[in-house]
Symmetry: C3
Subunit: 275 residues, 3 copies
């Protein structure tokens, strides 16, 4: 990752740091309109972003929330990581989006990485929000400790359609630890089994580690989905793979504030996304 | 700890996650009455919890604060960890407490572990508040770096009654780093030499690492009693021994806010304790 | 560092923990006047402290902000770490300052260490604010990962006057990650190339690791100039070299809040500095 530190290449690319322009009435002083593409995580669909997207739009930004194959209304759970990536890249091309702020949450971080390999010229900045940053040749599941990975594998084998049903106790204790029980149950009732294939796919990611798109890590510090030490975790373990990146720290666990405090999350997301 | 992750056993135990019930007028929306047993740390006695206990009671909870042998009014400093555990377990049985939220602060974490081995069926959740979580066969003193452990041993040998007198500078700089000097002196004036034996006892803890009682870690991030890195520390180093646990982060050092901001601590304790 | 833990030597030195005295009207209850000497970091000069110094003075403290050779109005960039140390030590002696709170930010931490070796009897407490704490025989540059160190070396070789010009993208993304772009540009416009020699000097620091002056670490948690894990970072990696120290955590990145929130930083600095 030396290139980011030494050459500072992207500092010299016109447009990477914008010029003063029109400011947004809803976003406070200095807020300039951005084009967001928001990618959700596992055990979620595009509706995960509803609150945050509405808040960003209220501030004057353009917000796109593409759905993945095998998620949302799509009943077919037999999908690959490559199909998800292709769908997101196609969406960006078909909408002719440029200067995209490509945001991933959780599993969505791996889709940010692979999408950036497909349409690098359309992306202005990559933003990882408690999101996976995979090393070369790794799978999303590789980011979990062995006992959790084995747990996922057992849950996968126990399913009839190659999916993983997240047990409620894991969801309640580590995905929404800041929620009360009623909210935890309500959010849990919304999720469906996650297609397993993309979680276990090894991704090459060679070109991801060669391009020089600016990147940020939004780290909500109360997230305990991954162990916070011992060679695991969102930050600094995975974030450090980004080389030079902008760190924005905030309060929150893995999912709760995206749902209950969307204005707060949108504010921090903007801090991570602006030039 | 695979059992917590994979089987999610406790999610299926009736009562572990309660049903909607009567709510408490003093505790805000969704607050349901719990039965707390609060266990203090070293260089403290049951009065350590006075403010937090009062606040929890004000919210409608039942709160018990048993004293350890060798602490409080008991002048005999020749006590063992086993005697402390027995006293707490006896207290819970004699009061016929059920569905207990067993909370330990600091050294009290090791008593949470051993008490849970004695009366597991009476406990609903274990809560560690910047508290020791010992590995199998370890002592409380084993959680400190060698130079601190040696310091404790020297202080122990210098005493006439097998106690350890905490030097003021260590107390002021690492136990109450957020206090001003006057408060630090006032709090220091309240403490007495700590019986040394329980701090150096190796605990087997075999059955602790087999049961499946839900557990939480309340982590006050400004606590520097133990080094925050290098293989030491409350969280994530010791907390990770809990396997699957609920993390609640808060502001505070090791002791100050328990005394000066009991409503804040009680609020965070409730977030760690609720279903 | 055993001495700090075991002997608690400084607890017994008269004056290290002051007696109740006159309180300051501007500083809130319990605020007592201190004598600060503030040492700035690299890519900065004494004006870095303007806002914080004004705030501390408003509270009734005495504040000195000596300039380093090779910085500020001094055009000669051919300076050594020893010359910087000598200038600060001379300043303290010539002003006949006593009971000094010696504060370093960033590179200034290494100057705190070497100045403490020269005039230990004049210093009451060392305060490191996201500041370097070098191990024996190390250089400031040794605290950076190899790729960043190599980047510095290349920038040094590319200069005509043995200085390092910080690329804007590195400044914007890691020194002022919490600033908006306009502020980042304004702050960047103020800095000049940093004399390279002091950054690569190996410092013996033998006597630093023998004296027993109380020390504090003020850690602004959003600082990403150094990696926050993997054997690098302000805290706990470098701070742990201090042995027994007082930790004060606060919000902020490496530079922004010193400029935009000086009252907040001054408040946290006082918490780190008081007896």
């Amino acid at each position: 990752m030396q290139v980011y530190w030494v050459n500072g290449a992207y500092a010299h690319v016109p447009g990477h740091y914008g010029q003063p322009g029109p400011q947004l009435p809803g976003g406070g002083a200095g807020c300039r309109p951005l084009t967001f593409v928001l990618l959700h995580g596992s055990w979620a669909d595009a509706s995960f972003w509803n609150g945050v997207a509405a808040e960003l739009r209220r501030q004057g930004h353009i917000v796109h929330v593409p759905e993945y194959p095998g998620h949302g209304a799509d009943p077919n759970t037999n999908v690959t990581h490559g199909q998800i990536t292709q769908a997101v890249a196609d969406y960006i091309v078909e909408c002719d989006l440029k200067d995209v702020i490509l945001v991933g949450h959780s599993f969505g971080g791996s889709v940010v990485q692979t999408t950036a390999e497909r349409v690098p010229d359309r992306i202005k900045r990559l933003v990882f929000a408690n999101a996976l940053v995979l090393g070369k040749g790794q799978s999303p599941a590789d980011q979990f400790p062995p006992e959790a990975r084995q747990g996922f594998e057992q849950l996968r084998q126990a399913s009839k359609d190659d999916t993983i049903t997240l047990p409620f106790n894991i969801f309640r204790e580590t995905f929404v630890n800041l929620a009360d029980l009623d909210l935890a149950r309500r959010l849990y009732a919304e999720i469906r089994p996650e297609p397993a294939k993309p979680l276990f796919e090894k991704l090459k990611l060679d070109s991801f580690y060669e391009h020089d798109i600016p990147r940020s890590y939004l780290y909500l510090t109360g997230d305990n989905v991954l162990p916070q030490g011992g060679g695991y975790g969102w930050h600094p373990h995975m974030s450090s793979r980004l080389g030079l990146f902008r760190l924005i720290e905030a309060q929150g666990d893995h999912m709760t504030y995206f749902r209950t405090a969307p204005a707060y999350v949108a504010c921090k997301l903007y801090e991570a996304s602006r030039d």
